[in-house]
Assembly symmetry: C2
Homo-oligomer: 203 residues x 2
DNA sequence: TAATATATGTCAGTCGATGACAGATGACAA
DNA sequence: TTGTCATCTGTCATCGACTGACATATATTA
């Protein structure tokens, strides 16, 4: 990897960290792009070359996670029930964070706090995730041998899976201390969902 | 009702209609608030006195619908299974539209087309609905006699219900011609959801 | 080292959104 | 009817997110 790429990755992370810290210090809304850029000695214009929008900072892990979900889903055996596959995809997102560098998991935990304090940002992640949700539905439809434009159950399966994810993440309770605690909550939520669903419903 | 209020309601609807038509003609993003205001001979500043944001236009029915959901939910018998109550709340939203004036249902159908062409706006509705979803969860928690801050199942119930709503609304298929067709789709989706869930799961 | 490719800063400009103030208009009592 | 009051509206100024264009600086490669 050349110097150029290393430098880019460095500023990318610097911007990310500066932004997250500012969000936690003074709130998301009252933090301007100018401040973030200033904190890492970069022009505001450059900020937008690394992140397409201010929101993009908050949705960083979300974007990343959806990519992982897609890959995991495609790697699961084709004859596995779709919801089971999706559940594994959800787990994969968190495993990825847990297996990452300490700095990365720290970013994840901090971002989670930002999302907690500004619930409306959670919706934005859904907004951005629309496209990925469609791709997940396409994949599930292919596995079920149906037309994604016609089959309601396919969309319901994906929607339920995403709901499970959100509940596992957002469920208030006390502040989680590490990623493993969040892993535990997601696992519990997945089990709860599987307990709530009729066996074979997604076949 | 005084002249003043009538006038306000009139401009409110005028702005709404002008905006919707412009969105359908030239797309959501390329329509400016200035254009909308100009189309009804009103200053841009006044636009923001009727609608808090450009998004607000699109989410108009959504806001309205969530209010109805809450009221319906509260009116359902306390011993009814929560998901059943929520399903009735979903139906109530559409009944309200169907029982409204023809002009109103037209607006509804047009707005639905706007949402279809700009999927990211669907996410915005979730963003705006975060607060209402919390209130729904509070109500469900009260009925189940649990603490909303502790009980995962409560949040899962609400999340599943909202998913059902979204799938019923957004499921592609062919363009619906009237509200009754959408009512049918929602009903089918609700039945599908109830078929997918284990009996008594939400008790 | 020269030539090329890419990253960054500066500048100008658009658009959404908000506060402040002044003028216009409906509501209401005498 | 008239005058007062509350409310609505337009104008102006301003902020902040975001984008395109262009020039400059910094890697990369031959």
């Amino acid at each position: 990897m050349g110097l150029r790429e290393r430098k880019k990755e460095k500023t990318r992370l610097a911007i990310l960290d500066a932004a997250i810290d500012l969000f936690l210090e003074q709130g998301y809304d009252s933090t301007t792009v100018e401040q973030i850029a200033g904190a890492v000695d970069v022009s505001p214009r450059t900020f937008f070359r690394y992140f397409t929008s201010k929101d993009h900072i908050v949705l960083w892990f979300h974007d990343q996670g959806e990519e992982i979900m897609l890959e995991t889903l495609q790697a699961r055996p084709a004859d596995e029930p779709p919801f089971t596959s999706l559940a594994h995809a959800l787990r994969a997102v968190l495993s990825n964070v847990a297996d990452s560098t300490p700095a990365d998991t720290q970013r994840f935990l901090k971002l989670r706090r930002v999302l907690e304090e500004h619930p409306h940002l959670v919706g934005l992640s859904v907004a951005r995730g629309t496209e990925t949700e469609r791709r997940l539905a396409d994949e599930v439809a292919a596995r079920r041998g149906v037309d994604p434009a016609q089959d309601r159950l396919t969309h319901l399966i994906v929607a339920f899976a995403m709901s499970t994810m959100r509940v596992g993440f957002d469920c208030p309770q006390s502040e989680p201390h590490d990623v493993r605690e969040i892993v535990g909550r997601l696992e519990a939520t997945i089990q709860l969902a599987e307990l709530s669903l009729r066996p074979g419903w997604d076949a």
